[in-house]
Amino acid sequence: MSRRLVASVLLITTLAGCAAPPRDLDLSLRHPSAEGRYVVQMEPPATPPAVNQIHAWQIKLNTADGAPVRNARIAVDGGMPQHGHGLPTQPQVTREVVAGTYLMEGMKFSMTGWWEIKLAVDAPQGADTAVFNVVVDPSGVRR
């Protein structure tokens, strides 16, 4: 009996674990860059995009003491660490909307699960990077 129970639990854990993001994933969309030069805030669209729908985010870039960072160049990369593939598109920061706020266009998530968005920031204050985790849940089925 106990062996069967253990076997069942193991199998279930395996099934549930296939697509599960790590439990300790930092899902914050606002945090300091890797070397602390900037505070980066990611703003997703107000209406959650569907899977496979191209959409835009805004990136707010401030210095550690809260001043907007102007004229930054921001490169975007990312992907799904658990699936070994990158982003389906090449998002680009196309313009600075207002001082320190940048428009990132061309973002797309081709499936549900854990995605990384990696930013490489180059601005007068120096180069730095920031990584954000996003978990895309099944949409259109929320009950």
Binding site: T47, P48, P88, M111
Partner: protein, 449 residues
């Protein structure tokens, strides 16, 4: 390809804009596992088989794959006649027009046979010659941002132009095709696009992709006349696309099963046999099939290298890696002179990934709708049946070109779990795929947005 936003996530986004889980409620997997453990323990006590029960997350995933979740077809701003009924009617006629081919015997329907799920059942297509890739089905393809196995076209209408000039498909050339369209279908084209320019004085055989003589004749033409021909040629693709947009996959046993699961209708769930349900669970779980084959069309519309052996090992197909440059320089792409779209509507092309090493040897994830009805499989018909396909994933061999995304213990991605399926599990997954068949539906009216 799931339906646009849902109120629950909207509300959550409003409450917690700084949370990374942007698309849903974010219920923890740990909680799910705890529930499963309890269910499993109860199953042992009661004799109930847990394998037949779906938890809430499973049900959500299942529901997301039902055909009824397929969103309405998005407009194609690059094709002004995409949803014009008269264009679809003309496109249907042109789809079977053999006079556009060099040997007067090949039409779109030669390879995309309407009575064979719009494919041909052959490992590689056969037009006036023999191609190098498997003919792709058409139903539902209007939902794809990229066409062909390598995605070298960014619209249905641009895709439809490729075979006409391909040496082994229709094998024709651009002026011959445009002049034939004018001679045989002028009134219909004029009604859709306005008066055609006069093409009769132009060379009979000229085009940028044909024989040396045809290319020379094309170069000898006035640029304005070349543009006239290109315009008629593009419009031909646009009416064929209008017809193709009316073709959609129909309801399958899987869709009826999902409806029964969501409704808690045990009797209705018998539409799938136990071994098919086992296969479905494997498809979603340790088979990892739904990693790429997800949503109502069972595709993420993306490109993946899964180590499928090349048809010609001496000349392996590089797939997506060499297609991005082709679509960028294609004069019939969304940003080109013959597209009806403003540049801002061409986001897929503008933000196309181009420098990703994973694109080497990668091919588009095909829809699995009706997959059981279109052997052989993969981009060049490498596998004869679905069991061979599933067995390939269970084996996960290294790729001949590029790197397979599948974990195989010899350089795969450490964070991805290897796919391990026994022979009977492989058979079950293949059996489940049989449940995805349904009749192709041709909409009498244009798609509604």
């Amino acid at each position: 390809m799931t339906a646009p936003g849902h109120a629950g996530a909207d509300a959550e986004a409003a409450r917690a804009p700084a949370a990374g889980r942007i698309f849903g409620s974010g219920r923890g997997y740990a909680a799910v596992t705890r529930v499963l453990v309890v269910v499993s323990a109860l199953a042992l006590l009661t004799g109930f088989s847990w394998t037949e029960a779906w938890n809430a997350d499973d049900k959500a995933v299942l529901a997301s794959m039902a055909l009824e979740k397929l969103p309405a077809l998005a407009p194609d701003p690059s094709n002004v006649v995409a949803d014009v009924p008269a264009a679809a009617v003309l496109g249907k006629r042109l789809f079977t027009e053999v006079r556009f081919s060099r040997n007067q015997a090949v039409s779109c329907a030669t390879c995309h046979a309407p009575d064979l799920q719009f494919q041909d059942g052959l490992p590689v297509g056969k037009g006036v010659g023999t191609g190098s890739r498997r003919t792709m089905p058409i139903a539902g393809s209007a939902h794809s941002p990229w066409l062909f196995w390598d995605g070298r076209k960014d619209s249905l209408w641009s895709q439809a132009l490729g075979p006409l000039e391909d040496a082994v498909e229709h094998g024709s050339n651009r002026t011959r095709i445009a002049k034939l369209a004018q001679a045989r279908y002028r009134a219909e084209f004029d009604a859709l696009f306005g008066p055609m320019p006069e093409l009769a004085p132009l060379p009979d055989d000229a085009g940028p992709l044909g024989t040396a003589a045809e290319r020379a004749a094309w170069q000898g033409m006035d640029p304005g006349r070349r543009k006239d021909v290109n315009r008629v040629f593009a419009n031909l693709g646009k009416v064929i696309a209008a017809y193709e947009r009316t073709l959609a996959p129909g309801e399958s046993r899987f869709d009826r099963y999902v409806r029964a699961v969501v409704a808690g209708d045990r009797e209705g769930q018998q539409v799938l046999a136990p071994h098919e349900i086992r296969g479905l669970r494997l498809f979603l779980g340790k088979g990892q099939c739904a990693t790429c084959h997800n949503g109502p069309l069972f595709t993420d519309q993306h490109f993946h290298n899964t180590g499928v052996p090349p048809r010609d090992p001496a000349n392996p197909d590089h797939g997506r890696a060499v297609a991005t440059a082709k679509v960028q320089r294609d004069e019939f792409n969304c940003l080109g002179a013959f597209s009806d779209a403003p540049p801002e509507a061409c986001q897929e092309l503008r933000f196309m990934a181009t420098d990703d090493a994973a694109q080497l040897g990668a091919f588009r994830t095909p829809s699995l709708r009706n997959v059981a009805q279109r052997a052989p499989y993969m981009h060049a018909g490498q596998f004869a049946n679905l069991e061979e396909v599933v067995a390939h994933y269970a084996k996960s061999p290294p790729a001949a070109v590029g790197h397979s995304e599948l974990a195989h213990g010899t350089g795969g991605h450490a964070e991805r779990m290897p796919i391990r399926l026994s022979a009977s599990e492989t058979r079950d997954v293949a059996a489940f795929l049989e449940s995805l068949s349904g009749a192709v539906v041709e909409s009498p009216a244009p798609p509604r947005h």
